[in-house]
């Protein structure tokens, strides 16, 4: 018999403002950013010297030396050094997956509190030696005799000096994520203007949220930055219309640098706990993590779009919780690209997709757009891969708390490798 479970509470969150690549955080490492983020969380909730059950975080672009990134960040933070930690990595789903892992352990009573987070830098990204050079060096390492060493060294070529630089591309297709998204946008006939409109709304909503102090207890400035560097409160459909497409080809290309997220540096963290742990410390409970689901699609051979997995995960989650797509007060659909959000919503509205791909009798239907990403999302804030989940969980939890008890929110995050992570929060 399964042990009775409880729902994990979201106490609060912290993140550093997100910076554009090679901007304010150009010289900050993943560990620097995650440590600062943890310290901001510690300061906000008075956790100095305290031991939390577990800290779970990760990074997508990771140096080999960062094998124990989260534990090292904990050791550098003001948390008790007796706080265990481990790394996870599920591409852009990392942050949300970390929160789900912490919540599940809390639900099972294995821990009473935990911190979930993520950090990513595209400015301080790992640069590896050329794969050919690496083979030569390993061979040299294995060599025991002078003769063997000379033989190994004979394999050296000038071309091997070119380093391996990480690319934002799918290993199995060689296509950039944006090019994959452009294929999906074309298939779903997502227009340029609706993408630009969604982008403008994201910027305006994020700016308004900052202006009303919504992020005062969610963000801690870092290295002189106090708001997300990508935020353009004065952008407009007219301004965005002037940008040239950067993904997709030919006449029908719609995706620009404006309606796609830029490469971003940043980190986020969320404090989760049992209700009892929070109550003992007079800490708030903003919302509970009700349930979560992952899905993956075969974007290599199966004819599905790279970023469409959340469209598959959500109906499974709804079914298990006896909910419809309309039973939510807020929707947080990660804006990897404006077209991704629009394609996902269109898929749920499509009778054909819902029947053929999801096996449903009726489409999930449309959502009230005024409940979508009401405080802006990744198009405005930027998207440091592993940090986006933590940003969204904390933002949605606070939104639900402000709206009052019994409110419900849906999170949908697409990830590289054809994956998706979705979750339900409830106040």
């Amino acid at each position: 018999m399964a042990a009775p479970t409880r729902k994990a509470a979201i106490v609060g969150g912290n993140r550093i403002p997100f910076a554009r690549s090679n901007g304010a955080y150009a010289r900050a490492s993943n560990q620097d950013m995650l440590t600062a983020t943890l310290d901001g969380l510690v300061a906000r909730f008075g956790l100095q010297g305290q031991q939390v059950g577990e800290v779970v975080a990760g990074a997508v672009l990771k140096h080999a030396r960062d094998f124990n990134l989260t534990r090292e960040s904990v050791l550098g933070s003001r948390l008790s050094a007796a706080t265990p930690a481990y790394d996870v990595q599920q591409a852009c789903g990392t942050g949300l997956e970390a929160a789900v892992l912490v919540a599940n352990k809390i639900a099972l009573g294995q821990i009473e509190s935990g911190i979930a987070g993520g950090t990513d830098t595209t400015s301080d990204a790992p640069v590896a030696v050329n794969e050919d050079l690496r083979r030569v060096l390993m061979e040299l390492n294995r060599a025991k005799t002078v003769q063997q060493r000379l033989k190994a060294l004979a394999g050296l070529r000038p071309g091997q000096l070119a380093p391996e630089i990480p690319r934002n591309a799918e290993p199995r297709t060689g296509l950039a994520m944006g090019d994959h998204a452009a294929i999906t946008a074309r298939e779903w006939e997502i227009g340029r203007e609706e993408q630009d409109e969604l982008t403008v709304r994201s910027h305006q909503a994020l700016a308004a949220a900052y202006d009303r102090g919504f992020f005062d207890d969610l963000v801690t400035p870092f290295l002189g930055l106090s708001r997300d560097a990508n935020l353009r409160p004065d952008t407009s459909v007219e301004k965005l219309a002037k940008l040239k497409p950067v993904f997709g080809q030919g006449e029908g290309a719609t995706m620009t640098a404006g309606n796609s997220t830029p490469l971003t540096d940043g980190a986020s963290a969320v404090l989760l706990a049992s209700d009892e742990w929070a109550a003992e410390r007079d800490l708030p409970v903003l919302a509970h993590l009700v349930d979560a689901q992952t899905a993956a699609v075969d974007y290599v051979h199966g004819g599905e779009g790279l970023l469409m997995a959340p469209a598959y995960a959500v109906p499974v989650l709804l079914e298990r919780n006896g909910l419809t797509l309309q039973d939510f007060d807020f929707y947080e659909v990660h804006e990897a690209f404006a077209s991704t959000v629009l394609a996902t919503l269109k898929a749920w509205e499509s009778p054909a997709f819902c029947k053929e791909k999801l096996g449903l009798d009726a489409p999930l239907g449309s959502i009230d757009r005024s409940k979508l990403n009401v405080n802006g999302s990744s198009l405005a804030a930027g998207h440091p891969f592993a940090a986006t989940g933590g940003r969204i969980v904390a933002t949605l939890a606070k939104l639900l708390h402000e709206a009052g008890p019994g409110k419900r929110g849906l999170i949908s995050i697409c990830a590289a490798g054809g994956q998706g992570v979705v979750a339900i929060l409830e106040s």
Partner: protein
């Protein structure tokens, strides 16, 4: 931010040069450190007239481990240590003729005063006097103490505490403060205590144990020093600053095991938000320190509305609004709460180019005095602290000449440190300061400005 001139004047060659040229010789002040005795040497207690406090003062000193020597051995004697403190009970004054006794006692005692020594005179308030002659004698002490403070050297200070009949129980905390290293930069001041219920059994080393203190503008400078001293004295500090200062604020909070709250105190709902958070997270607040302040200097004729309004909003209106919100929100202010506002020397003396700043800082004094009776009824207190020239990042940016002159225009011939302001605030926050209400304590080394 080190005082290079003070260090030079106290060096071997510097001593010779400054003495021969008659230059100011600022002393290294005795400042409080945890575990330190109240006084580093013996004290003497004397009286002018038949006072009522001498025995109590002697007992208080002995309780604190201080050796109390007889005035007889001081007068004309050459034996024994130099005196760390000279206390005069002048509550027995009936008229100016009794002041001769004050002179007779003080002159030989002050001659033997040690570096960073303390002269503390205790008397009744002139307003309560039975006759004009008695009022004159009491008021005369004001001139005596302020002049003596200017004569003292070597970091020694002189202050006057006025004790009305019936307020004797309120005396111990202020006396200990003025004698201690906490009052290093408080000089030439007059403090009036009132009758109040002073809780017994306070932990002298950590008097704020179990208390919750909120400090605005805590991310740096004087605010950060206040947060650290309140924490050292045992309080859990809720450190507040504008969202943009969050990185430094988190560092301050983490250093002292406090809580960081990013809040624009000029926001319409700032008081309510703060009150609610203090109730939900900390069960209310014991100590409120209104420290946040800004300067937007310009001559009045050149000052635009934005400069005027922003200074008023941050420095004065926010203090009024937040205090009112805390008073209005049930459970926000704990019983015996302490509110301390940071005013400024500019608010007392005025300062060219600072009509807006000085107006806001003078306004604080009006606010504190007006609110004092209501706070007294609640068993709480509200006071202001007015810093003089305090060495901070801000003063470090001043031109050398302005800074050097500014920092020497006081009886201690040096600028104060943020910790000096913080120590005075921590004193006002203590349970033992229940009888200090509606007061303005200057932390200025007896500045010549506005004295």
């Amino acid at each position: 931010m080190s005082d290079w001139y003070r260090d030079f004047a106290n060096s071997g060659v510097g001593t010779t040069i400054t003495k021969q040229l008659g230059l100011p010789r600022p002393a290294v002040l005795r400042r409080h450190e945890p575990g330190q005795p109240l006084l580093p040497g013996p004290a003497v207690v004397g009286s002018a007239g038949e006072g009522r406090l001498r025995d109590e003062l002697t007992r208080l000193l002995r309780d604190a481990g201080v050796t109390v020597v007889s005035p007889a051995t001081v007068d004309g004697g050459t034996d024994g240590d130099r005196l760390a403190a000279v206390l005069l009970d002048a509550t027995g004054l009936t008229g100016p003729a009794d002041l001769a006794a004050a002179h007779d006692f003080l002159a030989p005692a002050v001659k033997r005063l040690a570096p960073s020594g303390r002269v503390l005179v205790l008397a009744d308030p002139p307003a309560d006097a039975a006759s004009p002659a008695q009022a004159a004698a009491r008021q005369a002490l004001d001139g005596l103490v302020r002049s003596l403070a200017k004569e003292l050297r070597g970091g020694a200070t002189a202050n006057l505490v006025q004790v009305p009949l019936g307020a004797e129980a309120s005396l111990a905390g202020p006396v200990r403060f003025f004698l201690s290293g906490r009052a290093a930069y408080v000089d030439g001041q007059v403090l009036t205590v009132t009758a109040a219920d002073v809780p017994a059994g306070e932990d002298r080393e950590r008097p704020l144990t179990g208390k919750v203190a909120v400090v605005t503008g805590a991310a740096r400078g004087i605010g950060a020093a206040i947060a650290k001293v309140l924490s050292r004295d045992g309080a859990h500090v809720v450190a507040v600053d504008v969202p943009a200062a969050g990185e430094q604020l988190a560092q301050v909070a983490n250093e002292i095991g406090g809580t960081a709250v990013a809040l624009d105190i000029t926001g319409a709902d700032a008081g309510t938000r703060l009150a609610q958070q203090l109730i939900a997270r900390h069960g209310g607040v014991d100590v409120v320190v209104h420290n946040a302040g800004i300067t937007r200097d310009k001559l009045l004729v050149n000052m635009d509305a934005a400069r005027w309004n922003s200074v008023m909003a941050v420095n004065l209106q926010a203090q009024l609004d937040i205090t009112q919100a805390l008073l209005d929100t049930e459970g926000a202010l704990k019983p015996g709460a302490r509110v301390i506002s940071v005013s400024s020397q500019s608010g007392i003396a005025g300062n060219r180019g600072q009509t807006n700043y000085a107006a806001s800082k003078a306004g604080i004094i009006g606010m504190v005095r007006a609110w004092a009776p209501e706070f007294a009824r609640r068993g709480a207190t509200i006071n202001a602290v007015a810093p003089g020239f305090i060495v901070t990042e801000m003063t470090a940016k001043m031109p050398l000449g302005t800074r050097e002159v500014g920092s020497r225009l006081n009886s201690l011939q040096q600028g104060g440190l943020p910790v000096d302001v913080a120590e005075t605030i921590a004193f006002l926050a203590q349970p033992g300061s229940a009888g200090v209400n509606g007061q303005v304590v200057r932390v200025c080394g007896q500045s010549v400005l506005g004295a």
